[in-house]
């Protein structure tokens, strides 16, 4: 695949420039959508309007470049990598580039969210074209001033030179450049000429992070702000019956105790049906909640503990035991929806020499972002200001405006840096709670959650079980049948077209679900975070059954896909083969030292191809993951430093949750509420992650999620080699009779 170096979007519609009243040039552009023909770039940067453009670049007359990036930063690194792409084509020194998280006017949002590992992939072309266009206009301005042809000019780090050896900085010509017409066609660099892309750049917020500057939602405060702690039903299925706040109200730091819920009910009754933000309000309940308002966080937390509440049952109080039973019943039943069907599974299974069938099981998981859910809201007669860590500002503004019966123009949302997301901050419970509280008292308020609140008010990864069956005939896999039973929602539409779709003639994916009152949602790499582990364990068994090498089995299946191309599959067989070869080469596959057991996994999701080998040893009867070799094909590597962090983090996160983390319910009550009973992986349990990227000049794809899903399979397969035990149920450690060590 040869990358195009010509811009191809309609340029007039996605990019405009203007001369700033304060000097310099402002470029408005749109990463994902075309703009309206009448779109205008403001003359004043305080009036940035994200309706027409969703990002802006300012080039000052000192040649300093400021990029206003509205994309939320949750630790995935886009606040660094997206500006790098602009700076590359603009041809400026990275040190002359400043990045600002833009303040947002939500009325004017277009696709500003962090999710699905898509920011860099979708922004790639637009970001490059924007940088290249600005550069071309600056060069044209310099050429005009010199009276030479543009072709005689060259640029290096923001300095334009001509063939006579004269030079002009971007700042010298920026005011003239801003008056030029935006060119229709610009040349993009060849990847071989990249100077910033492909070179590791540090997190743009690094200095603030290491010195403890206020950055996060929990750090944000305003004069006169109160702290609010919310008492919610302790069990899913319960609602508030009554409460006694006399003791709390008598506390010195407590300002007031109120209830909220009326506005949420108003929304549920009047607006839920028109709610296009499917899931954003998943947790909205008609129950009243008790809110303690206090002068400090601690006063609010203490006040809440002093509330005596009585709860009553409103719907079923569900337990893990019951979920296990319903999901297994679903898997063994016939209430499925077929998501993909190739050939004839029934006939393949009937004619088979052998059919292998396994069930794989995973628990609910909370997200446990290190920064617990919180949000600032200030509701006054003329304005609703919402500030804090949220991955989805657009629904925040819309839902709150409807909930409070306010014009959308009166609602603004600003995003802080987020202390982790993993999907949790796609949902908005903490935003509308804060808004309803502030609306009730007409004062600025910060809704704060304790860890206990955070872990028990989750939008959890749902418990899911898979039944996978394959038929073998004459030494070949002739049929593959995947059944999914999930709580609440099933896999999204692309997943049935991932490997092994296209590689096995008779192939079928069926799904069924059980509707629970426990709120569930996206969790880093939704669905594949467990599916990959299950399928990659299953393929290990298949290879063993067939008596073929695990790597060879995959290479052969992928070869068949190459020979019989199937237009609907989402992965590239060539690129999956590429990462397999690379991981085999780098991991010493098959040649591990005595006492080291290796397991392999290879997977495609979120547009990125990944292969992983886990090396484990057995220490005091317990498996210890020593090393994971990870081969990744994400196309062009934008920021190798940030990419390494994402890959290593994804792998270790995946190991932690596959091996240790468990979350259950008893009569609707979550069975863990803090890190003394819920285990997250800690440093002593972490392997070294050895990362290798496939060299590529294909357009980049995302890295926030794709290295997590396969690793569970690699670990399970390695444990099998060491112990002879096939682990089909997560967390693995619970099935190894291993000693649990949760707390420190």
């Amino acid at each position: 695949m040869t990358p195009s170096n010509k811009a191809s979007l309609s340029r007039r519609s996605f990019l405009k420039t203007s001369a700033l009243a304060s000097g310099g040039m402002l470029i408005g552009f749109n990463l994902f959508n075309a703009c309206k023909p009448e779109a205008k770039v403001p003359l004043d940067i305080s009036k940035l309007n994200f309706n027409d453009f969703n990002a802006f670049i300012k080039i000052s007359d000192e040649g300093i470049v400021t990029i206003f990036s509205p994309n939320p930063e949750i630790g995935q690194g886009v606040k660094t990598s997206m500006p790098m792409i602009i700076a590359e084509e603009l041809d400026v020194a990275w040190k002359d580039v400043h990045v600002e998280q833009a303040a947002l006017d939500t009325k004017n949002f277009k696709r500003q969210l962090a999710g699905g590992s898509q920011s860099v992939r979708l922004g790639w072309k637009a970001l490059r074209q924007t940088g290249a266009t600005a550069k071309q206009m600056l060069v044209s301005a310099a050429a005009a001033r010199w009276g030479v042809d543009v072709s005689e000019c060259s640029v290096k780090e923001g300095i334009i030179s001509n063939s006579k050896g004269e030079t002009l900085g971007y700042g010298d010509v920026v005011n003239e450049a801003a008056t030029l017409e935006v060119p229709e066609d610009v040349n993009l660099k060849e990847p071989k000429d990249f100077k910033i892309i492909g070179k590791g750049k540090r997190n743009v917020d690094i200095d603030k992070i290491i010195t403890g500057k206020p950055l996060f939602g929990l750090d944000y405060k305003e004069e006169g702000m109160l702290y609010a702690s919310v008492l919610r039903p302790p069990a899913f299925g319960q609602i508030l019956e009554s409460f006694d706040a006399s003791q709390a109200k008598a506390m010195q730091g407590v300002v007031d105790v109120i209830t909220i819920g009326e506005k949420a009910r108003h929304y549920l009754e009047n607006h839920l049906e028109e709610d296009k933000y499917n899931g954003w309000t998943a947790q909205m309940s008609p129950s009243n909640k008790v809110v303690v308002l206090a002068k400090s966080t601690w006063d609010a937390i203490k006040g809440k503990k002093a509330i005596k509440a009585v709860w009553k049952q409103d719907s079923e109080l569900e337990s893990t035991e019951m979920h296990d039973k319903v999901l297994l019943d679903l898997l063994n039943g016939n209430k499925f929806e077929t998501k993909r069907k190739d050939g004839n599974i029934k006939s393949a299974f009937a004619k088979a020499d052998k059919v292998i069938e396994r069930i794989y099981e995973s628990p609910f998981l909370p997200h446990n972002t290190m920064e617990p859910m919180n949000f600032f809201a200030s509701v006054t007669p003329d304005k609703v200001r919402l500030i804090g860590p949220v991955q989805t500002p657009e629904p925040a503004a819309n839902v709150v405006s409807k909930m409070l019966g306010r014009d959308i123009d009166q609602v603004s949302v600003e995003m802080t840096r987020m202390g982790g997301g993993f999907g949790r901050r796609l949902y908005g419970d903490f935003v509308y709670e804060a808004a309803e509280i502030s609306n009730s008292i007409q004062k600025p308020v910060k809704m704060v959650s304790t860890r206990e609140d955070d872990m028990t008010m989750g939008v959890y990864r749902p418990a899911i079980k898979y039944k996978i069956a394959a038929s073998i005939k004459d030494g070949e896999i002739t049929g593959y049948h995947l059944k999914e039973a999930a709580v609440n929602v099933n896999m999204y539409g692309l997943i049935p077209h991932f490997f092994p779709a296209g590689a096995i003639k008779n192939y079928q994916v069926d799904t069924a679900n059980y509707k629970s009152n426990i709120t569930t949602g996206a969790w880093r790499a939704p669905y594949t975070n467990f599916l990959a582990s299950a399928e990659q364990s299953f393929f290990d068994e298949l290879a063993e059954e067939l008596g073929v090498d695990r790597v060879q089995l995959h290479m052969d299946l992928l070869e068949q896909v190459k020979n019989n191309p199937e237009p609907n599959i989402k992965y590239s067989p060539e690129r999956l083969q590429g990462v397999l070869k690379l991981v085999v080469d780098k991991s010493n596959w098959g040649k591990a030292a005595s006492g080291v057991y290796q397991g392999l996994s290879v997977y495609y999701c979120h547009n990125t191809h990944v292969a992983e080998v886990a090396d484990i040893i057995i220490e005091n009867g317990t498996p210890v993951v020593q090393k994971v070799t990870c081969a990744v094909d994400c196309g062009i590597l934008v920021n190798p430093l940030g990419a390494l962090n994402q890959v290593k983090g994804g792998v270790i996160d995946g190991i932690g949750h596959a091996m240790y983390s468990d979350f259950g319910f008893n009569k609707g009550v979550p069975q863990s509420n803090n890190f003394n009973t819920y285990q997250l992986i800690r440093m002593a349990q972490t392997p070294k992650v050895d990362v290798h990227f496939v060299e590529s000049d294909i357009d980049p794809t995302g890295l926030g999620e794709p290295t997590l899903p396969p690793v569970g399979g690699a670990v399970a397969n390695a444990i099998y080699k060491a112990t002879g035990k096939r682990l089909t149920k997560q967390p693995f450690m619970d099935n190894l009779n291993a000693k649990k060590s949760i707390a420190v």
Binding site: G212, F675, I681, A684, T686
Partner: protein
């Protein structure tokens, strides 16, 4: 409410708070030093780590009434210009992802290296085991502690 006088980052602060208020919330809400982070409130995650008389402590477990007379250092006071060798190492390695836990990690690492100047890999992994990083930047933290140890020696 009673008042307490605290010595934080070499400055005296007098605050009014309930005696049982964790120092964490005094720092964050009353003195506006928000670099010390709240993660769990029960001493399990390390996000709130500070130095008390040079040793790493969880500020969520230390009550304000116990903190008088103590020499308290927070991330804001670890170095004047953000250039403590541990901070420099964090920057060299580009450790943070979301960044929320990193102040606590840095405070744990800097107290540890003060007591253990030439740590082994196992020493580092043991010393840092009380600090959770949900982004799982553990490989980079481990590397940065090693780099900082070299800078300090």
């Amino acid at each position: 409410m009673p008042t307490f006088t605290l010595k934080i980052n070499n400055e005296k602060h007098t605050v009014e708070a309930d005696a049982d208020t964790p120092l964490l919330w005094v720092l964050r809400d009353k003195i506006n030093l928000v670099g010390t982070k709240f993660g769990c409130g029960i001493g399990q995650c390390g996000a709130c780590t500070i130095h008390v008389d040079g040793s790493a402590m969880r500020s969520c477990l230390l009550q304000v009434s116990q903190a008088e007379e103590m020499d308290i250092t927070t991330i804001e006071g670890l170095s004047e210009k953000g250039d403590h060798p541990v901070q420099q190492a964090w920057k060299d390695i580009d450790v943070p992802q979301c960044g929320y836990c990193q102040a606590g990690q840095i405070m744990t690492a800097s107290a540890f290296l003060n007591e253990t100047p030439n740590p082994s890999r196992e020493d580092i992994r043991h010393a840092m085991n009380g600090n959770i990083c949900r982004c799982a930047s553990y490989n980079s933290i481990e590397e940065a502690v090693k780099v900082a140890a070299e800078k300090l020696s």
